[in-house]
């Protein structure tokens, strides 16, 4: 799985951090998403999918099945 975030789109609602704190964080100054892990391990996949579903601004893109590069 490959994860990408689009910081300009992010509205800092924080769903991603609640859903998958190992993969996403928020910048202290403005709450904008920070990607901690572009290729999260198997055990994180479900949580990352949930984050992408919850994100109200479609700022998280998940590409399934790709090997960590």
């Amino acid at each position: 799985m490959n994860v990408d975030v689009d910081q300009p789109r992010c509205v800092a609602a924080g769903h991603c951090v609640s859903a998958a704190p190992e993969v996403f964080d928020q910048r202290d100054e403005d709450g904008v998403v920070v990607l901690l892990d572009e290729t999260p391990g198997e055990h994180e996949h479900e949580r990352v999918r949930e984050a992408a579903l919850l994100c109200p601004s479609a700022a998280i893109t998940v590409r399934e099945g790709e090997r960590p590069s």
Binding site: V17, V32, P56, S57, A58
Partner: protein, 398 residues
Amino acid sequence: MNEPKPLPIAARAEGCPFTPADELYEMQRSEELPRIMVPSPLLDEFEAATITRYEDAKNALSDTRLRMGFVFDPEAPRTMLNQPGNLLNYNGADHSRLRRMLTGAFTVKRVRSLRPMIERIVSDRLDAVEQAGAGADLVQLFSTPIPTLVICELLGVPYADRADFQHRAQVGLDVNTSRETQIRNLAEMDEYMATLIASHRESPGDNLLGSVVREHGDELTDDELVGIGNMLLIAGHETTASMLSASTTLLLRNPDQLAVVRDEPDAVDGAVEELLRYCSPATAMPRQAAADMSVRDQEIGEGERVVVSVLAANRDLPEAEERDLDELDVRNPPKHHVTFGYGAHQCLGQQLARMELRIALPALFNRFPTLRFACPEEDIEYRTKALVFGVRNLPVTW
């Protein structure tokens, strides 16, 4: 196209304040987006294309061609909504510029750090309920003060000023007051907020508003800061108060679900999501089309108004195939809902609201394990016609 119907977008079924009216479901089934008349304090009433399906709601709310319906108008009289600084009045780059200055104060991390403060407020309110004894009205003693006091902490309202502050917040919500009273009350709120801003300018407090002044004070006018303070109050206290009261009545009517919230700490977060979905306190979101556009294959013309029914959309989630969404089921929380809206304006305070609910509800049922209504259930009055759903009275005993 149908003739517009004189129907409030948040109509409820006869006999159940939590169930959407048949007419709303009828609209949801219709392929067309029905045009209905929506009553409005500012515009008297307006015609709007009505969105009631969940997928349509998400698509519409994330479409940048749909603008906030009542964009700030400096020429029009200043009201609680018509103020600079209120995020709900801005679109596009102006909106994100302002929102980015506030989001740092609402990150998941920052909100978590507010937990001890919220726990203290909740525990004080439970003491007040206990002191009032049998017949205590939870609306007055619990649901209304908790969110207002949390906002006092965020804004840095000193203890000595809190009684007045709470009073003004209550008058602001009271529909039974005259126009003159409302105008005077609003002027007092603005005036108070201005003194608060002045003192933060002098020495920024160790709270949310203080941090906004410290970090962004040079990019914001005093007027905008006053508007931001007022916005946090308006957006944050009635909705959260409504959730506390409505959740409590619902759980009192469903004792087995109340027991889940009371006895199973691990189930509380999910239960709160289900209560948020089911109550939908902010019932509808108005917008206006800045260009010709379509939602699904339904056309909306430039300049047309649009209203999204949160109440209806939350009963149309993908889960509808597996369960009856007209039933409350705290053990079966939704994956997603639109109670906090969707898209660029999605509720700034949602993590805070969740935290308040997750703390206050279990605390209430643990302090009073035998809590029950102190009046016949039918005597509980609900506010179903306003934009924000509410419970008017909630006398309890234990």
